[in-house]
Symmetry: D2
Subunit: 387 residues, 4 copies
């Protein structure tokens, strides 16, 4: 098959991560159909041109409407801020392009459903960027669950803890503004945990949550890029309109119990995207800050040597590992995107929907929104109420 | 001051732990008023006599009513099964004895309040057995919070995870029967976490929980002692009438958010009584399986060396440590009881109420019961509703 | 069998540890013949009387010569400073007493051989205090090796790291004076590692070492007890006459390679007595600061879940554990002494030599001395040269 | 400055790692002079052409003699098997090319000196591939040492543990053949530890070592690539002519003591390149399997919170981190090569020698050889004897 020609909208944190993934594919996954980095798009002409040159794209666009109708583009990769996802995705689908969309799929469930419908109607491939699924240690977790090696699942405990806005002088970046970000910790971090739970345990049935904004006003930012920003204590202040932390309890359709938390107020945790699963035959633990490792416990180990094993998921037995380096030679955050794009390219080449796709984006959004509703109405909310 | 003369009711797991603590005091805390091990009490004459000889008590009783009226007893230590606590404690108070009562204080809040009232009316000292407070690492946690070194508290995450009943053939011991134990994981394990939260963060304001009994029927036990038991798969079965797991979310009076879980269905966790606290100036983490350690993070550490410190709480700077062994020479589970009895003996000698006392037992019971109510009524319950 | 009547010489750090072990036996090991704490001995009458009362001995002596001839003593427990071991042990043997002697057995190999000969000639039981063997996690290590579950042993890496004298103002305590202590880190800490290696791997064949005294002069102490002491920077100084650190390489008789280090100059290590063993079928790791844990790796674990298991050696399957607390309820440093005394009492009751005994003390001393000789002569020294 | 044009000899494990680094530079370090991937060279025409296409080189050569004289090449990157380094490097120097050479620089000290002399005489830049220096956590270690934050250094303990040839049926790959590899664990793994010690502690003064080949015969390989290979138990066998494990003790010029070990017989260790340094003001620990982390201890931390900090070296305060991802988003093995090439490109652009360069390669070789000599002659060997 010939190359798959990509046009990408967005060129900041996620744009860099996606570009790196596209660049890595031909070298590390030579058997995967090659993505051709045809065009990158952003509103600021100088910024996007710099990104084009730096990331290695063939051309640049400043209006996404122009990008999505280009004949030389097969795929549209959307990693612009969350509030732009819907319009772009629907237009891209209408233009017959396959779509990769960063999470959260949309600012709300209704929008995400519109996006799914548009993609399905257009008959294009669609994928959503839950990249953490693609860590080899997480793939191992999935394998253990799928093969029944953990037995019946009792518990899922998932926490995404960060600390980048603990300082009340940290400025009011776009991720703290509801109209752009849609949500705070809940949608940014909690969405990843929800997807992980769905991936490993199954569908949510009902939820109840709570949330808090610990710092309600922040100085307006003077510069802003990715997760970092510079502020000025004397700058005028604005309202923080998203949650700093959201926690919720959940019951899964299969009877498992869940406890999920997303917060940006956990000092010492730069990026603790962690989970533990307990089943009748064993348990597993994962922490993204040690992305190569999975802790694994089996109840049927010999009596005198039972204990959590620290598995370094870099062996030949582990997903993707043979494409990288010898056993024990670790990979990092960015590789999750490369693996994600392996799935996207393969799905297009094999004419099947990639996983996770917009259905997963919608389901995740439904859970997010059910949690929001449960917070607002202070009661348990069934996911089915939302659909 | 002369010795404090103790009569103890109960001689199984907790009776052994308390006896060991009393025995350790004169040797390791020679400046503390000495507990005199006057009498031990249990219903089975042979059993209690064996315990008397083994644990080193001067005499034995088979009826607690006889014990509490003995003139040569100053203190009654109650560690019989939970359903017996109330009657004994009220009678002991009426007899003018100081009271140490194992947790949970009672089977329900009303009973625990009766016990507190009786003790207060009688003017006796009363203490409740939340022994985990007395690990030096937990004392260090308290010190850091109290001195403001963690700043304003945002989050408390507490988990008590065990795995001793994951096997569905594990028999129906008394801890799985509501009429004796009052509660399952929630009252047995969750109570410790609730107390830890109250000790370190402050009072609970409102809660919402969920619970599950994963294995609803179990074989009746053939033998039973402490946490271990032997069963027989062919034995007749009985209903498990307590929770296997209970989780809840909480809001504290000071605005902090809490997530608490107690389960006996977490394979690989023999006794993970763990918590994490995040504050504006730092964070701490504790896991009872590594009882000598506290993980400590400070936001004001130099930029390039920020990270959780693994503090081994065996230095001279740590509570109780100089009474034991040189720095780095660890202690274990049993020592938490010894420290607890240091507090109890000191409080009596100093004519003050020990901490934690029945007030703490009542408050813990109120939270437990609020969680139960929140589960039953599927809504947030304020602790104030219960009082 | 009737009680075994003990007379103990020494009442500081080790005297306290031994006393605690004797006290614990009847309660936690009721089936073991009971040690009767008949007499404690020390030169300072007031000090020893205080220890007697505090530790629970029946009587006190101020001259060990009186103690060892008492008719009401079956066993002499020697934990006086190292320079006194030889004379006491030989006299105790002559008096027909069984002997427990703390490590190091003597100040040098010749003395230790004299002690062994005296004990053998007298036909008494003799034991040496390598207490670390008796941690349940170490017993598990032994079991794994003995049962061949690690296969052929390739490597032993043992490190005893402490940091209590890093400060150059720490005073010149007796452990830093060769005429009393015999040796510094090497004899105090290295001896434990050597014994561990002999216990788990087998006999040493040849060694080569190096050592250093980083701080060559220290203030004379104003007070001194156990491992702690107070000094005064203005106090007159004296020469440190022992090693601060000693390292050596070793070849074992079975072909395994060893690397061993003892130092008191490793900041952050309060008491890291650690080892790792690599064999053809697996590996194990131990660190005394986490005394309840053994890390275990097996080469024949399934391909996708290979990793070191953290085994908490508190299960019923682990040595001594059922005598203490339920699984997951940890023990500490002091318990190694209790287990040691279980072996000593059992050996006497069963009329067999305990293990480890003076033969082990002699072999350890031979290795220590071979290392010293290798340092002095800057060459490999076979252990056989010393005997 | 215009691009720096690279010709690379070798296209297996290291060739892949270097190619990836060259590709990453323009994207992640846009301010660094860009390496232009002009030509890749290998003896097998089909193999090198495949690598060319996969790794993204402009042209391919099958004879390195042709490569090094090409006008369009500024730099020769040598990562062919070790036995080819010398001839190529000397010829490249003669051709006036800057040289990057993988470690070990040569098969022996004399050869490495010849290479250094040739490079110096030609006035070209020369660098040697000690990539582990370039992990951000190791750069932090260097910074702490250099700024005196660890005080005077007492100890260096370095271990490179692997397990890929524990199975005696693993075939006789080129790394196990002295005539090609020069050395076994010692030169392959130990060289990295020696360089780390030199980087962080300083020059070696004298050493004494031991080594062993545990499996002396192995089946001849049927296929071979990188660190993996497939064998056949029935294949004819050949002699293993290198060491499986080499250990040595060292004294550094500054008085510090060292213990270093390299082995391929440590089950459970895929790639444990670890070290610990103890100084008068603190200690640090590193393990490559957790490449993003440095453990740091300071003696002047407050009394009650002393402990090793786990520093995740992904903050803005850490070397290279701002070029990658936000704090907490980890990198892996391959990034050490990218950073290495940053240094190489910068040095050329700034007309200075890169570090580490052939001097470091020579010094490392001198230590390796001193250890070999110490093993052969069973005595301490001063590094100065070798020069």
């Amino acid at each position: 098959m010939s190359n798959i020609r990509v046009g990408m909208i967005g060129y900041k944190f996620m744009g860099k991560a996606h570009s790196n993934a596209y660049r890595a594919l031909p070298m590390f996954f030579p058997n995967v159909t090659r993505p051709q980095m045809v065009a990158i798009c952003g509103r600021d002409a100088a910024g996007v041109e710099q990104a084009r040159a730096q990331f290695g794209w063939e051309s640049a666009e400043t209006d996404w409407r122009n990008l999505i109708v280009r004949d030389d583009i097969d795929v549209v990769d959307i990693n612009a801020p969350s509030d732009a996802h819907k319009e772009i995705a629907i237009a891209a689908a209408a233009a017959g392009k396959h779509i990769f969309c960063e999470k959260p799929l949309a600012l709300n469930l209704a929008d995400s459903i519109d996006m799914l419908n548009a993609a399905e109607k257009a008959g294009v491939k669609h994928m959503v960027g839950f990249n953490y699924r693609f860590a080899p240690a997480v793939q191992l977790a999935k394998k253990l669950v799928s093969e029944g090696r953990l037995g019946k699942i009792f518990h899922f405990r998932g926490f995404f803890l960060q600390d980048w806005i603990v300082d009340p002088q940290f400025p009011l970046v776009w991720r703290l503004q509801k109209e752009i970000a849609g949500s705070g910790s809940h949608g940014d971090l909690g969405a990843h945990v929800i997807d992980m739970a769905r991936f490993l345990v199954g569908e949510f049935q009902e939820v109840i949550g709570m949330s808090e904004t610990f710092v309600k006003e922040r100085p307006l930012p003077t510069t802003m890029t990715g997760l970092s920003a510079k502020g000025d204590a004397d700058a005028p202040k604005g309202q923080v309109t998203v949650d700093d932390a959201t926690l919720f309890l959940a019951r899964f359709a299969n009877g498992a119990l869940g406890s999920i938390e997303a917060t940006r107020f956990a000092p010492g945790h730069r990026c603790t995207n962690s989970f533990e699963i307990n089943g009748s035959k064993g348990s597993i633990k994962f922490d993204f800050e040690r992305v190569n490792e999975l802790q694994v416990y089996f109840t049927d180990d010999a009596d005198d040597v039972q204990g959590f094993r620290r598995v370094l998921a870099t062996d030949a037995a582990h997903a993707y590992s043979e494409n990288w380096w010898p056993a024990g030679h670790t990979i990092g955050y960015e590789h999750t995107f490369t693996h994600e794009m392996v799935e996207f390219m393969n799905a297009i080449a094999e004419d099947r929907q990639p996983v996770p796709n917009f259905v997963d984006g919608v389901e995740c959004q439904a859970v997010l929104e059910a949690v929001d509703k449960s917070i607002e109405e202070r009661r348990w909310v069934a996911i089915s109420e939302l659909r």
